[in-house]
């Protein structure tokens, strides 16, 4: 008889453990969520649509029988080797070649080092020569290589849809230039993107000289110029703040996401993280205050976070400035003015006072950063505050930038309306999508006789232009640009343009009728001109080699902000504190974390990468606070005590079903799905822009909704007076990945306050089940006493039933992740995708839980209270990168029936794809849920056509093929895959070391040689990787720190990836101070309901 083994029912005490939750549905504990949790995979993830097993086997049997008949294909196909006829210099087949370049984006470029394989750019890295970035990069630059191989990019120049040759375009431009040179350019206008290119600046200056009557305007939908124009006004010369968060011990972010977006954010994040790199108890750590309306990545890192609608932030800034200044005993007149301007603001006075005191007490080491969308007056006050706090010169520099060249789009629109524009050049940008709605750009553009659009896609703007001039990708063109600090960087091509195109520089040069038209020559002239007197050729070679022109940054300005001027400015400011309610909402349009302002909309990696906070992939949503959701009655009714019963329709088995809402602002309406996001200001509605494009690319088609109609000239980034209505019963599914793979109430993320840590440095080891587990890896275990480098080889078995592999390899690979610095920006996710040939699967498949990312960022919310019925309005966020943990006792290995996943002698949990038969037992047995299965041939099939079977189109796009990393297998259908610790990089390093060693025994790879893709990209340097058998390696040092712990360590999996516990550094005097971070409060109250955790 079959014996039924019943697990003992958990005791009630066990059921009230610590509570982390990743979705509102989880905290509400709906029946739907329970059912979802208990399933092995999300619904549909493990079944074939419309075909049952029996039917499937029948068909397969028939096709095998047919296939067997012919015995065709027994001969191995003949393949060829095609060597170069003339081998290019420096190219060695099989070895990558790196070029220094930079990615221009708005008014700051990102310095990069690009890996190419026989002239194909495949992977982007940060340029380590540019020290402020330390070789780091960000999400968008990592993903930008895919844009180069976008099959939907425009492939030719065109006139009204008909293809034009390069010569035609050249003569068109030269003729136009010639025509207008006679009348000084009257009737000629330009609308360009912002640019940081010195060469373009020179050409534009020339243009203005040659065509004095012409209009040169610049427009960016995400404008970062407010601080610059405020400073320019106050100092009388153009200047821009350049922050050094790493030098600050107290930082106040005013509705600013400075570590995640905008000018210099890579530097900000790295330098901010440097201020939080606590090596041992007693080390200093910075403190971040954040006041914001949305929930940003910066807000997630904040030690104190205040929810406040953006339209109230100016008043907040004024009051705070007043308090800081009176604390410092400065500028009494201004203080009065500021207090008056802040009249009517209702926030916790103690919050402001204590924050002000803390900033003032750390004079010289504090820093105030105002979000770029805030008005000039706020920027001015923030700058003045920095000056009063002695921050200028210490934690912030005011850089003397070049003068703004462009007029505003509004001025251009006026000229068009007056009929003063006959020929309009639109250089980049996409005004038909993102110009302020009150300009009616599309109609405006139609009024112009001749519109010549220079663009990368044949998008909304190009469709209604007369000419389309094809722009090259930055990886295939010559150019230059300045980094955020002004350092001049090259933009150099590493591949010939894939399609006929012309750079912006050449276009301008041709209009000018210059003799020198080649962009290379133009850049050469600019750069060598900056080093007049030196050997030009050497200067330029060096420039290209280093990827920057040394010491070419902007100098600092000497000027001081006069209190008088600031007072005048504040006196003139009118920012009445609005009274917001469900009938008078504030809308805040934000740059999307993935598609930027919409320009990366057709990039599959970015679309599939979930938003850092909402975790929604493939869509944008109207983000509303729980309070607002309740008032709108879209939150399921109030729960009875203890058990929560909410509308099960909101999340159905892992798929978010969002109600649709309509927003109206001054008669303009938009409609989109609603996502309830805790942590927002109650009556602020946050919407990422850049979706809902009319450009039907393979990726962008039908994704999201367009929020630009709410953008106006007067209120480009936020506005009040918005009305919201829920549209009937209509719903929409959102691919929210946060519902997948929940980890229930365990000490997965360990957090403590800094002061607690200083007294209890071993707090991380005392949390979690293993701290009082049998001595396998508990605190008293023998293994714990053994030094890491010894333990890594011996790995005491604990009580494991299974035999261990031998760890006798020369190196023992391990990783440590510092959660104190991880900001959750997702750069690692896409870096991994690009390095390891990870496919995208599309929204439909993400809904089924089949996304393929090898590394994901888990985001947990915690409220501090152990009350399942509550929906937090103001939770804390904790983030954790999760990847294959390379367990020494790997549970996946013991269940594989074909030995497809085994350990190697250096501690890697390896995956032999060609052995895998796809049972998925390993994924089932993995406690970390990091294994990914190829349910379809993602690489060979088109998104949206996976279910067409043999009738669907097959084969990878020729362009996409070019992106693939030749050092990594492209996996096929039916194969399991997961993080390999970038085994190709490890092997390459070992091979290089051995090859160089030759007839010697110098074969140990030195520490630091190998960087995994995630580690290399990480803009906060939160990941260390290396040989843990070497006690001197960086990773060993990290792992020896007292905050080190293993996730689910009590399972005795002995992961090679360990985490450094997170610290928060709240101010004990603040009203929202808590003894413990919220997640820790939950942990302790659950595990030690009667106290006694100390």
């Amino acid at each position: 008889m079959k014996r039924v083994v019943k697990h003992p029912e958990p005791e009630s005490g066990e059921l009230t453990g610590p509570k982390y939750w990743r979705s509102l549905d989880e905290v509400a504990d709906t029946p739907g969520f329970r059912e979802y949790l208990e399933r092995e995979f999300p619904e549909g993830a493990s079944s074939i649509e419309g075909v049952d097993r029996r039917h499937f086997i029948k068909i397969m049997a028939a096709s095998f029988a047919l296939g067997g008949l012919g015995m065709a294909g027994c001969r191995r196909p003949e393949s060829h080797i095609l060597p170069y006829a003339q081998q290019p210099e420096q190219v060695i087949p099989g070895r990558p070649l790196y070029y220094a370049t930079s990615m221009p984006l708005r008014n700051a470029a990102v310095p990069l080092l690009v890996e190419t394989h026989q002239a194909r750019p495949t992977k982007i890295e940060g340029n380590p020569t540019y020290t402020p970035h330390g070789g780091k990069s960000d999400l968008i630059s990592q993903a930008s290589v895919l844009n180069l191989y976008d099959p939907d990019r425009s492939r030719s120049h065109a006139r009204e849809g008909a293809t034009l040759s390069g010569e035609d375009v050249a003569s068109l431009l030269e003729e136009t230039g010639g025509k207008y040179s006679e009348n000084g350019g009257a009737g000629l206008a330009f609308l360009a993107e912002a640019s940081a290119s010195p060469t373009r600046r020179a050409l534009v200056a020339e243009l203005k000289k040659k065509f004095p009557e012409s209009i040169w305007s610049e427009y960016e939908p995400v404008d970062e110029g407010a601080a610059e124009s405020a400073l320019t006004r106050l100092l009388g010369e153009p200047a821009r703040p350049y922050y050094h968060p790493g030098k600050a011990t107290r930082i106040l972010a005013l509705d600013s996401d400075f570590i995640h977006e905008g000018n210099g954010h890579i530097y900000h994040s790295l330098s901010f993280a440097n201020g939080r790199r606590v090596k041992q108890a007693g080390d200093p750590m910075n403190r971040l205050y954040s006041v914001e309306s949305g929930y940003t990545v910066t807000g997630g890192m904040a030690d104190h976070r205040l929810r406040l609608s953006t339209s109230k932030v100016p008043a907040f800034a004024f009051r705070l400035a007043a308090r800081v200044l009176s604390e410092l005993g400065q500028a009494a007149d201004l203080v009065a003015e500021l207090e008056a301007a802040a009249d009517g603001l209702e926030v916790d006075e103690a919050w402001i006072d204590e924050c002000a005191k803390d900033l003032a007490a750390n004079r010289g080491e504090s820093l105030v950063i105002a979000g770029p969308h805030l008005p000039e007056e706020v920027q001015a006050v923030a700058c003045f505050l920095n000056q009063a706090l002695d921050a200028v010169g210490n934690t912030v520099d005011l850089l003397a930038v070049e003068e703004k060249q462009g007029r505003s789009i509004g001025e251009l629109a006026e000229a068009v309306r007056d009929g003063r524009v006959r020929t309009l050049f639109i250089l980049g940008g996409n005004p038909a999508l993102n110009a302020p709605a009150d300009l009616n750009w599309k109609e405006l553009q139609a009024e112009v006789e001749e519109v010549i659009r220079f663009g990368y896609y044949r998008d909304e703007t190009s469709k209604i232009a007369h000419y389309h001039v094809n722009a090259p990708h930055y990886l295939e063109s010559w150019g230059d640009a300045r980094a955020a600090d002004g350092t001049v960087l090259p933009v150099q091509p590493m591949i010939l343009p894939l399609f006929p195109s012309m750079t912006e520089l050449e276009l301008l040069a041709r209009i000018l009728g210059r003799e020198q038209k080649e962009p290379y020559e133009l850049v050469y002239e600019t750069v060598t001109g900056m080093r007049a007197g030196d050997d030009a050729e050497r200067v330029f070679r060096r420039f290209l080699h280093d990827g920057l022109l040394a010491e070419s940054g902007y100098p600092a300005v000497d000027g001081q902000l006069a209190e008088e001027d600031v007072r005048e400015l504040v006196a003139g400011a009118e920012f009445p504190v609005p009274s917001l309610s469900v009938d008078n909402l504030e809308v805040r349009l934000i740059r999307d974390a993935r598609t930027d302002d919409g320009r990366f909309m057709n990039n599959g990696w970015l679309q599939e990468c979930p938003d850092p906070i909402t975790k929604i992939a493939w869509d944008n949503a109207i983000l509303v606070s729980p309070r607002l959701a309740e008032e709108l009655r879209i939150l399921p009714g109030s729960p009875p005590v203890g058990i929560v019963r909410r509308n099960p329709n909101r999340i159905q088995l892992g798929r978010q079903v969002a109600p649709i809402a309509e927003l109206e602002l001054n008669g303009r309406k938009i409609r989109g799905p609603v996502h309830v996001q805790p942590g927002l200001a109650n009556y602020t509605v946050v919407i990422p822009v850049g979706y809902g494009r009319e450009f039907d690319g393979r990726i962008s088609q039908g994704v999201g909704f367009d929020a630009y109609p709410l953008k106006t000239t007067d209120h480009p980034d936020y506005a009040t007076g918005v009305a919201i209505t829920i549209v009937g019963d209509e719903t929409m599914q959102l691919a929210n990945v946060q519902e997948h793979w929940s980890m229930e109430g365990r000490a997965i993320i360990r957090e403590a306050n800094k002061d607690y840590y200083d007294e209890n440095p071993d707090f991380a080891a005392r949390m979690g089940m293993e701290s009082h587990a049998p001595p396998n890896l508990g605190p008293d275990a023998e293994a714990r006493q053994m030094p890491l480098h010894e333990r890594s080889r011996q790995t005491p078995r604990g009580y494991s039933l299974y035999e261990h592999p031998e760890y006798d390899g020369r190196h023992q690979w391990g990783m440590a992740i510092d959660m104190n610095t991880c900001i959750g920006c997702n750069a690692c996710v896409v870096a991994c995708q690009s390095e390891n040939n990870i496919p995208i699967v599309g929204k439909d498949q993400v809904l089924r839980g089949r996304e393929m990312h090898w590394i994901r960022i888990d985001r947990y919310f915690s409220t501090g209270r152990d009350d399942a019925g509550e929906i937090a309005e103001d939770p804390q966020v904790s983030l954790q990168p999760m990847l294959c943990q390379h367990c020494e006792n790997a549970p996946c290995e013991t269940v594989c029936p074909v030995n497809a996943t085994v350990h190697d002698d250096e501690g890697l949990n390896v995956m032999a794809y060609n052995r895998c038969i796809g049972t998925r037992y390993c994924a089932n047995n993995c406690p970390y849920k990091v294994r990914r299965f190829n349910f379809f041939d993602w690489n060979e099939r088109e998104i949206g056509k996976f279910y067409h079977g043999p009738l669907g189109p097959k084969g990878m796009d020729e362009l996409h093929k070019m992106q693939k990393n030749p050092d990594v297998s492209v996996r096929m259908r039916g194969v399991m895959e997961k993080c390999t610790f970038c085994t190709q990089r490890i092997e390459a390093a070992k091979i290089n070391q051995k090859a160089a060693a030759g007839a010697s025994s110098d074969v140990e790879v030195p520490d630091g040689t190998i960087q995994t893709a995630c580690q290399q990209a990480c803009p906060t340097d939160a990941i260390a990787f290396g040989n843990i058998a070497d006690p001197e390696s960086e990773v060993s040092k990290w792992k020896e720190r007292d905050r080190d712990y293993a996730v689910l360590g009590y399972l005795n999996t002995r992961p090679r990836v360990t985490y450094l516990a997170k610290l928060r550094n709240p101010n004990p005097n603040m009203p929202d101070y808590a003894q413990r971070p919220m997640s820790a409060q939950e942990y302790y109250s659950r595990n030690y309901p009667n106290g006694g955790a100390e």
């Binding site: 393949s79 006829a85 099989g94 050092d967 060693a997 007839a999």
Partner: protein, 217 residues
């Protein structure tokens, strides 16, 4: 009750078993012989677009392997030479030869010569030449006596088991570094070679990987 089964049927199960065993054994035997690279690959000698003769160039003329396969010490691939390498000599020697028509055409047009691949590993296998030739493994061990081949043929099976033979006992295959490209090198005796090999393996810390991760990524 009469007997349902005659007496001879007693031995039927045994006979069936024997037949099945023999049949099974035969099938297994055939598959292991005919379906393995040892049968399918060894001896493969495709006709090349240009009848390049290794025995002439390498054997008689004594051109070093690395003159043409120039990146073998630096790269994963040993690299088949670009056309320009052929033309280094052949713009002087036999510059009118009909056999070199394709080479001249390639040199002029820039089109590659489509050499037929002789040695091919599966896509999921990442072999690296540089680490082998720099650490005492001669071309000869895998490619055979190329300097005597008029037409290059597949000399060794290149199966995983064959690779592992050497990875398990490197001392039997390593040779002095200066003899890597000497295709005619002969050890004094098999014992002397192993003795030398053991020394090299120890001195150079040769420890060929045996894990999947060594070649499969």
């Amino acid at each position: 009750m009469s007997k349902i089964f005659p007496k001879w049927s007693n031995t039927v199960p045994l006979k069936v078993l024997i037949i099945l065993l023999v049949l099974g054994g035969t099938v297994v035997g055939l598959v292991t012989y005919y379906f393995t690279p040892k049968y399918t690959r060894v001896g493969y000698a495709p006709t090349q677009p240009v009848a390049f003769d290794h025995s002439l160039h390498s054997g008689q003329l004594g051109i070093d392997c690395r003159y043409c396969h120039s990146h073998v010490e630096q790269s994963r691939h040993s690299t088949v030479p670009p056309t320009s390498t052929c033309m280094n000599c052949h713009n002087q020697i036999k510059s009118e030869s009909a056999a070199l028509e394709l080479v001249r055409a390639s040199h002029e047009s820039g089109e590659s010569i489509p050499w037929v691949r002789v040695h091919e590993l599966p896509d999921f296998t990442y072999f690296d030449h540089s680490v082998h030739v720099n650490r005492g493994i001669s071309c000869y061990e895998c490619h055979g006596q190329v300097n005597e081949m008029e037409v290059v043929h597949h000399d060794q099976p290149f199966s995983m088991g064959w690779c592992l033979e050497c990875h398990r006992e490197p001392e039997r295959y390593v040779r002095p570094p200066e003899e890597i490209y000497n295709m005619d090198w002969q050890p004094e005796s098999e014992e002397a070679r192993v003795e030398m090999g053991v020394e090299f393996v120890h001195d150079w810390d040769v420890n060929p990987p045996l894990s999947c991760s060594a070649c499969h990524r």
